[in-house]
């Protein structure tokens, strides 16, 4: 999963089971592990997949449809072209990007009787949803073990199970995408809090422009929607993870439109204009960091 995992529980060793589950899912989902199911799919164009891979790809397609393709797990050819999986960063030419854009399209992914198929030249990367899926699995394992209070931290992808041992909600800081502090704190119980931002993984091109790893499927290029970060709070880790990427790609206007339509998640957007935009459902749970320098706006 290429991330640091920390699971804090009280009064149990179920954390070990969570680590074992993380290792197991990694062998299914990883795009860098040649023996994974996803690598097989990308190489052969089809794979007889495990229940977990089928479920996660299915969930991704559902989020893709809900977001008009702003989340699309078939961006892998673009992620590779910009060098985000190899570490050898480069800026592809316009012609190359135009060709890659034609290969991107979640509509081309077919799931039939346990087999996933993708068109020739297409590729799948579950990076935008895998950590979310693991956090859902972690929460389920902990609950099965009778754990009522836990904080799951998968490299900044947070799952707040129950409340703190003292009964108060967990307090999750949201990182300031432009600095080292936080923009504020959100209180959460039985919720997942996932942030996508351009600061997580990036390189600078020859002209000093920051190239970040979140790709807009429509352009095969880094998303440029006026947001510095997008945080989604929701009941499902997988959905919160996928939506945080989608919202970052969509920008404020489209994202607020989606929220008004569905009302099944909440969000905290940090805009390049220096604003923190939160949805109405978080107005009591979110506290702005006083000296963060951002102004707060609530949308309803």
């Amino acid at each position: 999963m290429d991330t640091y995992m920390s699971v804090r529980t009280y009064g149990t060793d179920a954390g070990d089971q969570v680590k074992a589950e993380a290792a197991r899912l990694e062998t299914l989902f990883s795009v860098t592990d040649k023996d994974s199911e996803i690598s097989a799919l990308n190489r052969d164009g089809e794979v007889k997949a495990s229940a977990d891979t089928l479920k996660l790809v299915g969930e991704s397609l559902r989020i893709s449809r809900a977001t008009g393709g702003a989340l699309d797990v078939t961006v892998y050819p673009a992620v590779r072209a910009w060098g985000f999986t190899t570490g050898e960063n480069r800026v592809p030419s316009k012609e190359e990007l135009a060709k890659i854009t034609e290969k991107i399209g979640y509509e081309g992914v077919r799931i039939e009787k346990g087999t996933i198929r993708i068109p020739k030249g297409a590729g799948v990367d579950l990076g935008a949803v895998a950590k979310g899926y693991l956090s859902d699995r972690a929460a389920a394992i902990l609950k099965e073990n009778g754990v009522s209070s836990a904080l799951i931290d998968l490299g900044g992808n947070i799952g707040a199970l129950g409340s703190r041992p003292d009964g108060s909600p967990w307090r999750i800081a949201v990182r300031d995408p432009a600095g080292d502090g936080s923009v504020g704190t959100v209180e959460a119980s039985d919720l997942f809090v996932v942030t996508s931002g351009g600061y997580e993984r990036y390189f600078n091109d020859a002209s000093g422009r920051r190239i970040w790893h979140i790709i807009d499927p429509a352009t095969a290029s880094p998303a440029d929607s006026g947001l510095l970060s997008a945080t989604v709070v929701g009941k499902s880790g997988t959905t919160a993870d996928g939506l945080s990427t989608a919202v970052f790609v969509m920008g404020e206007e489209r994202a607020v439109g989606l929220w008004r339509e569905t009302r099944d998640f909440e969000m905290i957007l940090v805009t390049s204009g220096g604003e923190i935009v939160i949805t109405d459902g978080l107005k009591d749970a979110f506290t702005r960091e006083e000296d963060s320098g951002y102004t707060l706006r609530i949308v309803s």
Binding site: D2, Y4, S6, F84, G87, L151, I172, A173, G181
Partner: protein, 126 residues
């Protein structure tokens, strides 16, 4: 001219004030912030960040040729350079008592973590 006795009293008062100030500092400063640099599960360095007076750097290398530069400043610590492919550790920025979230370089199996301090939050979404 001030008499010797008066000097002794003045010095005694200054000494008493200084001692009181030292005690006050001990009591009112927040609990010490300690950082640990961990490689392959082993703690290589344990640093009391509150005792750091000026910036210094620590080079962490291994036989695979993996390199990370850890920079220590008063109250804070960061990975400021690395030859890993993704450089997520460098992008993570500075960890401190107020921001005690771990900095991780997965490819090099390196973690810089704060073992004490108070964030006012339980975790950071990022």
């Amino acid at each position: 001219m001030i008499k010797t006795r008066t000097w002794i009293i003045i010095i005694a008062v200054i000494a008493a004030v200084a001692a009181a100030a030292a005690i006050a500092v001990r009591f009112f400063l927040p609990a010490g912030t300690t950082a640990e640099i961990v490689k392959d599960g082993k703690v290589l360095y344990r640093i009391d960040l509150d005792r750091v007076t000026e910036e210094y750097k620590i080079e962490i290398g291994d036989e695979d040729g993996d390199r990370n530069t850890v920079t220590v400043r008063p109250g804070m610590i960061a990975v400021t350079a690395a030859d890993c492919p993704d450089k997520i550790c460098v992008a993570a920025g500075w960890a401190s008592g107020e921001r005690p979230y771990p900095i991780v370089c997965m490819p090099h199996r390196l973690t810089v973590r704060i073992t004490s301090g108070d964030a006012g939050a339980d975790a950071e979404a990022r």
